[in-house]
Symmetry: C2
Subunit: 401 residues, 2 copies
């Protein structure tokens, strides 16, 4: 069943220097695509941001090492097996996959990037990937975006993509991303994968700086259940085919990149396990932005706030609790809490006789906005999450068959 918060796939024009293909390699699923290959033009630079989990999967180790070279010619993504906690066999699989992909793409293994999501603790049957790669390579096309967006899905309920253009060094460049996340395969956890492609010419060092900043404004401000996957990976590939002047002012490009990343991050929340509502938490009046962010994420991660939203209950008492538990500077008697543009509590106590009708109507909607003003300073930030519903328990707590 598709999430009620799903958005349609946008039109996705080609990105010069990027070709894609997807196939059913039978890694775990039957009768659906589970393997995606992307090939990049010579000269493509790459940046990456990975999970902070201390027990990362073998593909994350591989990408971190490959990133040192700063150059990319191919990306291989499989669904159904995460290649996590597989010991030495995990490294054998990543190397074998990269060598095979390098062979079809005509590059060195260090220019191949890898990502896997799915079951944990089972050896990845990389021979199926290796066997499928020549056929995949033969079918590469510049318009296979939907196939690629679907091919990386696990139990995502809709494919996720976003695209923007920007002017860079006198040329129009395109930034297109696909992502998967918040689905899961027993016995596994939701994992975020995001791949962004641009025809812009941007050196790897600049690309890395832009990607880190963009992820910080997007994927690092969303949460579904506070659990951190062992496989989270965001990669950005820049083919340079747009022919723009290198080292030009990258502000507009960075802005377009940030929009694509935020759009994809919110699509992941919209597909959060069991999600019925998208929740935005705006924090103002904090002592600084960092403090605002911690308060926003504390509210976003509170099971009691998330269940209240699921129940369409504008429960500002739980919001106060979640603000207080963040451990950041907060003064109960200066704190204001609002929902849907109506302040329910101001400066330490409930607003007597506030108009509940618009609040009730807002809580019945699909997109909920919570406003928190700490009344202490000029710090502000925003986080996004989804509600916590029976659907989450159904997906993650179903009895093993």
């Amino acid at each position: 069943m598709v999430s009620p918060l799903a958005v349609p796939l946008p039109a996705l024009p080609p990105v010069a220097g990027v070709r894609l293909a997807a196939a059913a390699a039978g890694i775990r699923y039957v009768g659906r695509t589970d393997l995606v290959l992307a090939e990049f033009a010579a000269g493509t630079s790459v940046a990456g941001v990975f999970t902070r989990n201390r027990c990362p999967g073998a593909p994350v180790d591989w990408c971190r090492a490959a990133l040192v070279g700063g150059a990319a010619r191919a990306l291989v993504v499989n669904a159904g097996n995460a290649n996590v906690f597989t010991g030495a066999a995990g490294q054998v699989s990543t190397r074998a996959t990269a060598v095979a992909a390098a062979s079809v793409a005509g590059c060195v293994p260090g220019e191949v990037f890898l990502a896997s999501t799915g079951v944990i603790g089972e050896v990845l049957p990389h021979e199926r990937i290796v066997a499928a790669l020549p056929g995949l390579h033969a079918s590469l096309a510049d318009d296979a975006w939907e196939q690629a967006a679907r091919g990386i899905m696990t139990t995502d309920t809709f494919p996720k993509a976003s695209t923007r253009t920007a002017m860079l060094g006198g040329s129009s460049v395109r930034v297109t991303g696909i992502a998967k996340g918040s689905g899961m395969i027993a016995p596994d956890m939701a994992t975020l994968l995001c791949f962004v492609f641009t025809d812009a010419a941007v050196p790897a060092v600049t690309l890395q700086k832009l990607l880190r900043a963009g992820v910080d404004l997007s994927f690092n401000r969303i949460t579904v259940d506070s659990d951190t996957s062992t496989s989270d990976t965001v990669l950005l590939f820049a083919t340079g085919e747009a022919g723009n002047a290198p080292e030009a002012d990258v502000a507009a490009f960075g802005a377009a990149l940030n929009e694509v990343l935020l759009d994809l991050a919110l699509q992941v929340v919209r597909d959060g396990e069991g999600a019925q509502k998208l929740i935005r938490i705006d924090v103002t009046g904090a002592v600084d932005d960092r403090s605002a962010r911690r308060v926003a994420l504390s509210v976003a991660n509170s099971p009691l706030v998330k269940t209240a939203v699921a129940g369409e209950d504008a429960n500002w008492g739980r919001i106060v609790m979640a603000v207080g538990k963040a451990g950041e500077p907060a003064d109960r008697d200066r704190l204001s809490v609002g929902v849907g543009g109506v302040w329910m509590a101001r400066e330490g106590s409930v607003v007597p006789g506030y108009d509940e009708a618009p609040v009730v109507a807002h809580m019945r909607g699909r997109e909920i906005v919570i406003a928190i003003d700490l009344g202490l300073g000029g710090g502000h930030d925003t986080a996004w999450t989804c509600d916590l519903t029976h659907g989450y328990i159904d997906i993650n707590g179903s009895y093993r068959s």
Copy 2:
């Protein structure tokens, strides 16, 4: 419906110098007790530990201030209204209640301790408490333990108490505690209250040291949903009526206190919202104890681990994820994970052909033990939690009527 993890109330002999009474004051509930008074002999010393939430309720502020005096003659606890986020009115209520209780107990208001749980943001109708106090005082008795344990409940499904004896300064002393927690009243969150009474003579400074250490070993090692109430309060009253020599070796007394606190803490987890299983997480092999504790709590707070246990799924992949997200030193290739005494994964990969039968049987039980060995050092610790079930969503996400 009583929690399937409930334990029966133990026999609770009197504690010299402590008298208790409970009554229905109509604070919010109809037809049930919601007000408890305890009176202590002259010379009673007191210690307290409170929520770290930055937006505490007015009674927490009151107790923190009163604690400076180190002496207690009365305790007033109400259920149904938390007196949280009530602005200046909250302070008016705490003062009026303390003054009225001091009047019936024949002490000063600073020797009265207060605790409230229930609805947030509504002014506490303290005049109902004030009106009920004389009648409550007239009915004080030394055997009203069950009434007191029931009178502090909100939506707890069973009353919680524990008692031990210890030798102190040549005398046998008794330590008896009652607690409530993990129930909730819309729109409110679960709150922990715990009151421990002893006839031992122990100076307030020593008492505070012992209580802080005991809470650290018990209530600070449990979690139901990672949310921190604005009202959490643990108070320890020592009447001195046992006549033991003061300043004697308090090790045995401290051990008895710790047992009472841990027993009560586990009863709170057993009554966790929607709990069907009690989960113990033993971490060994960490670089130090502090690190082990953070790993244990990371696993205990993971929604994906807790839903897996609810589904009776010995999902060690999710346990690995939760270990890794703690941010503590961990080496994937030295990590071992077991359930119910069976190692499923050792030193970085699954144990080939491990015997699943005892694991499956263990997961079907009520008390689940997860073992994690980090393989790095001698640090170890334990945390407790409950599973995350549809019951939690039912209780906290029910639509407002």
